[in-house]
Structures are given as C-alpha cells and as structure tokens.
Symmetry: C2
DNA sequence: TCAAACTTTGACGTTAACGGTAAATTCGGT
DNA sequence: ACCGAATTTACCGTTAACGTCAAAGTTTGA
C-alpha cells in the first residue's frame, strides 16, 4: 500500500497552489502534528503525496467550520439589534420609512439564517462521514463475533 | 421601556458570578463593542441590567459554538486514523486484540458523533430564534401593506 | 556549469482573546 | 470619618495561528 509505483510526488509550492493554503501554513500544520512529516528529496525538499493533499483539504474544511470570531459574533448580535432599531422611533416615522426598516431587518435575518444553515450543512456532512465509519466498524465487529461463536 | 422602575442594577462582580465569565472578559467584550457600555455610578462603577446579562449569555453561547481549535481538529483526524491503525497489522494479531481495537475505534467514532450532534443542536436553536424573528418581521410587513392598500 | 526559480530553517511580527497584577478610587457600613 | 471589600484604568504577559523576511542551500533546464 505504500510502495505504489503510481504515486506522484509534489513539492510544497504545488501543494500550496492546489489547496489554497500558504507554504507557511502547510509547514505549520506539520509542526503541530496535523500533517505527517512528508518524505524528502536528497537535498531536503519536502515531497507530498495525493494523500497528503487530501488530508490538508480535510483540515481546511474543519478550520472553516470553526467560524465565529468575536467580530462575527458582534455582527450577529448587531443584526439582532435591528430589532430595537426598528422599534426605536417607530411611532414618529412615516410608513414608507417603516417599510424600509422592516425590509432591512428581514434581509439581515435571512442572511444570518443562510449562514447558520451553511454551517449546519457542513456539520451534517462531517457527521455522515463519521456515521459511515461507525457502521463499518460495527459490521466488522459483528463478523468477528460470528466467526468466534462459530468456532466454539 | 427604558425608565422602568423595576430594573435591578448589578455591579460587575455579580454579573461575573451569574454568567460565569470573568470581570476581565466582560470589560473586554465592552471594549470590543460586543456589549453596550453600561451606565455608571457617580464614582464610575459599572451598573448592569438584566438585559446585559442576557446579552452576555448569548455571547457566551456563541463563543462556545465556535469550537474546533487546531488541537481539536488534530484529535478528530487522529481519531479518524484509528482506521489505518486498525488495518495496520490486522493480519498478524489475534482475534481478541482485533476486538479490542475495534471497540476502541467504535468508542472514538461515537464520541465524535456526539460532539458534532451537540454543535448541530446548538446551531439549530440559534436558527430557530432567527426564524422566529423573521416571521415577526414578515407579519409586520404584511400588516403595513394591508393598511396602506386599504388607504388608497 | 551557471543562473533562475524554488525551498529550507530561523527568527521576529501580528492579531485575537483574554489572564494577571498594580496603583488608585469608590462604595457601603459603622 | 474611617475601614475593608469591590472596582477602575493601565499595562504587561500568553497562546494560537499564522505572516513576513532574510540568508543559505537545492533543483532544473539551457
């Protein structure tokens, strides 16, 4: 499984291109143990395999799933305050202005919901992958138990 | 709505107690614009309202939703590699060891899935709150339009 | 064999999100 | 008026997750 003649090796530049990560980030991931230290050329240049690229793409997905910095949270909550903005001088403004504010509030809410849905979807995909794995393990376990019980 | 006689004011210490955040963190959130600068006593002590506490709890929820540091991602991926670990010397080990490894892999997968489910649930709650808001706005808009069309 | 392009390590810089501490005020009770 | 507890601002420290830059070494193609 390791000595596959078909394996193409890439240098860090190409990997960076393909993954959209910087070379620094790739090395950093290796440093932090997220990526297994790749093989090297004689002179020390790193050589990455397709597997490595896939792994990097997984890492990327997961970091994006991270989301929500304090800044983003502020934006979310600020959008929530469109509510009080709406209510503010509600009685003192004319209907067309009211309409405008309402539309704005609706826009903001919809945008937030879309953002949340996106994150939920990503998490759902992640969950599906794990569930699939889990099923495979369970099947294996069953198989094992059957063999054993048949032997006794 | 502002000059409510019933409003109880708390100092930062009590708020910290109630929210489980540190005073430092609370001030930091104010500094970063996440929390509106509270009213002050004559001498400058901050006075918080119930609303402020609620807001802080929202912020807390959202920051927890953040999850996934690189360390956690590594754990996730490492758990994923239980897969290759499993496969490693599969043929050279005896059935009881196989069973043990399988059980371990299953445990790990289940744990990951629970974690993901928890995050999904939190996001779901957040989504529900936004959806509710959105509905209210839409209802208001309808109301507004009806009034207007009746007037013309 | 030589230059241009690429890569390596190392070191320092930066931003976010706080933690901790100190020195000075302020508050609440007596 | 006074004391102890709580709070204020200010500033320095820290960790994570990279960015940036420099000096030196490596590859490759002509």
């Amino acid at each position: 499984m390791e000595g596959n003649g078909k394996t193409r090796y890439m240098q860090i530049g190409e990997v960076a291109q393909r993954t959209g990560l910087t070379q620094r980030t790739i090395r950093y991931y290796e440093e932090r143990g997220l990526l297994r230290p790749p093989t090297r050329m004689e002179g020390g240049f790193r050589l990455y395999s397709e597997e490595d690229v896939q792994r990097l793409e997984q890492i990327k997905q997961l970091t994006q799933l991270l989301g929500f910095s304090l800044n983003e949270i502020r934006q979310i909550l600020d959008a929530a305050e469109v509510k009080s903005q709406l209510r503010a001088d509600w009685d003192k403004i004319d209907p067309s202005e009211r309409r405008k504010r309402l539309l704005h509030a609706i826009e903001a809410s919809e945008s937030q919901i879309r953002l949340i849905d996106h994150k939920i979807e990503q998490l759902g995909q992640l969950r599906a992958r794990w569930a699939e794995r889990l099923e495979r393990y369970r099947a294996l376990l069953l198989e094992l138990d059957q063999v054993e019980s048949a032997a006794t």
